[in-house]
Symmetry: C2
């Protein structure tokens, strides 16, 4: 199993998961809407990917949520 | 010259540069504080790097500014 990148990444992924489920997306449907692979979305949600800015923005658009709000969740957990 | 990744990346980099200059950092001193290479910081500021979450958080800490605020700048420019 890949390692989690950091607590901040885990918190970011958890925020993605919560919002995805609120909207009734599966990992597959979020991935399809965002133009990503479903395995990649799963890894993001587990904090196992050091997601880059382009994909942060893609996911936030599909989730109809500011990327800044997702990042704020990550920051709460970062040293 | 490398291409800019997107308008959002350019806006993110511009926000980094503004804040860096406010604090009196050079690209070199920001890079040193953040544990990054100065060329990488220059490329970030020009929007030529698709910066990942770990480095977004590193830079924001050195700049004493929430990463969410830097991302908000990027989002203003993203479609």
């Amino acid at each position: 199993m890949p390692a989690q990148v950091s607590r901040a990444h885990v918190a970011f992924g958890a925020a993605v998961r919560v919002r995805r489920q609120e909207l009734g997306f599966t990992q597959e449907s979020l991935a399809a809407e965002a133009g990503l692979h479903r395995n990649y979305v799963g890894a993001i949600e587990r904090g196992e990917q050091n997601i880059a800015l382009n994909n942060i923005l893609r996911i936030s658009r599909v989730l109809q949520m500011p990327a800044a709000a997702l990042i704020a969740e990550a920051e709460r957990e970062s040293g």
